[in-house]
Amino acid sequence: MSNVSIFEIMGPVMIGPSSSHTAGAEKLGKAASSICDEDFDAVDFYLHGSFAKTYKGHGTDKALVAGILGMSADDERLRDSLKLAEQKGIKVDFIETDLGEVHPNTVKIVIKNKDIVLLTLVGSSIGGGNIMINEVDGSALEISGQYPVIIATYSDVRGMISKITGAIARNEVNIATLRVSRSSKGEVATTVIETDNAAPESIVDEILQIENVISVRVLNAIV
């Protein structure tokens, strides 16, 4: 039986009313804007299942927007996040939808600037304020947000993983887990690398310079 910290019992300190509908939703929003890392002027939230049914009563909409604005789960301004987004000129839309066979508390977040999509993220609030990111820009993956993550997509040619991990090692970042997936042989592959310590910002450019790399996304731990 594994040890359980008392702070998994006492806390988190959060804005009510529900750890899955507010604390978890806020983390999903924060993960999206942090991975996006660019200025944006609109965000669409596609709400599935229980999120779709009760988002207003639970304040899930406000929590998602608070996350997008970078607020933390215990920030009392969370209640007014919709107004704050408006003041910042960020247009937010909530669309009830069916995302298929996914967790009941799932949202698809689409971040845009001047009608150009900057990021698409699908994630679930899996209970107790914990989250699971299931998809980024169409690539299926599994990210808990508890560790810093580097997501790289590239054309599926030989030797790519060693080049990417080489760049990570040169930055003195230690790799915790590494998972590779691809749509089909020779097409676009995605590598998700969880690291022990956060990578420096320059790592994005360094990996992008590697031939055949298509995109690099970074998410620092959000818990």
Binding site: M1, N3, V4, S5, I6, F7, E8, I9, M10, G11, P12, V13, M14, I15, G16, P17, S18, S19, T22, A23, S50, K53, T54, K56, G57, H58, G59, K62, D74, E76, L78, R79, G127, G128, G129
Partner: protein, 291 residues
């Protein structure tokens, strides 16, 4: 490390100390930090608990949906009339538990304990009990350590999620944690603390999770109020020397099995229980009509 209540009690005997001491030591080892680090982290959580337990009494607080609110104020005004059935102490605790629940439902800041839905019970219990015997903040921190230790046992051996085990796993766990904490605060032995926890959990075994319209409001808020009264009554019984015939560990196992046997309709899905009573349905339609 302790996985069972009897192990926790044995550790207190071997070290001639209280439950809170063992829980604190275990946390320091787990997080690789000092005792003061843990205490100062709890101090911050306690401040949030105190604020949430008071602000709903000071000011009428309504939920975002508008379904609940203002009951903490009512409870406290009634208490001040000095003609209550349960007496001043219990009514103070009731007002505090309602306050935290209302703050939670209004999208205010709370500390989950062990969840957001049941977050009113432990703070109301320890703050009120400490006030009654003039205990200082450090003693309240010890009580919170004990409460969390009991919560650890329930999480390890069963569940603290209403979706998995019904409300017995949330408000039941909260009441068991609170009961044990009060006993330690009042100088009871570790055995007495866990007897109190066992009796509190036994008293609400089988309680389903059936929130109206899926909101953490009805019946959650009042279950926090009765949860703290349950905890206080059980603490008094244990301090009087009354034992639980069924040991804590077995009560937790029973709770888990009952939770597993509960149909999904009675585990947070709002498809049964109070949620589907005629009034529950009417309220749901009204609120969803609003959306």
């Amino acid at each position: 490390m302790y996985n069972k209540a009897y192990e926790l009690i044995n550790e207190t005997k071997e070290n001639n100390c209280r439950i809170s001491d063992i829980v604190l030591r275990n946390e320091c080892k787990l997080m690789e930090c000092s005792e003061e680090d843990v205490r100062s982290k709890i101090r911050k959580v306690l401040q949030v608990m105190k604020d949430a337990a008071q602000s709903g009494i000071d000011k009428e607080t309504r939920s975002v949906s508008g379904l609940i609110g203002g009951n903490a104020v009512k409870a406290d005004q009634y208490r001040k009339m000095n003609r209550t059935v349960c007496g001043d102490v219990v009514n103070r605790a009731i007002a505090r538990a309602l306050s935290t629940s209302e703050v939670n439902a209004s999208m205010g800041r709370i500390a989950a304990m062990p969840t957001a839905g049941a977050s009113g019970i432990v703070p109301a219990a320890v703050i009120t009990a400490a006030e009654t015997i003039d205990a200082d903040e450090e003693a309240i921190i010890d009580a919170l350590l004990t409460a969390s230790g009991v919560g650890q046992l329930i999480k390890k051996n069963a569940t603290i999620s209403g979706a998995e085990g019904g409300c017995q796993a949330e408000c039941g766990a909260g009441a068991a944690m609170a009961a044990a904490a009060i006993v330690e605060l009042y100088g009871g032995t570790p055995e007495m603390a866990l007897d109190a926890g066992a009796i509190a959990l036994k008293s609400i075994l089988g309680l389903v999770c059936d929130p109206v319209a899926g909101l953490v409001e009805v019946p959650c808020s009042k279950r926090n109020a009765t949860g703290v009264v349950n905890a206080m009554a059980c603490a008094d019984m244990a301090l009087a020397g009354i034992k639980s015939m069924i040991p804590f560990d077995e009560v937790v196992d029973a709770m888990y099995k009952i939770g597993k046997a509960m149909p999904a309709a009675l585990r947070e899905t709002s498809m049964g229980g109070l949620a589907t009573t005629p009034t529950g349905e009417t309220l749901r339609c009204r609120l969803i009509g609003k959306q």
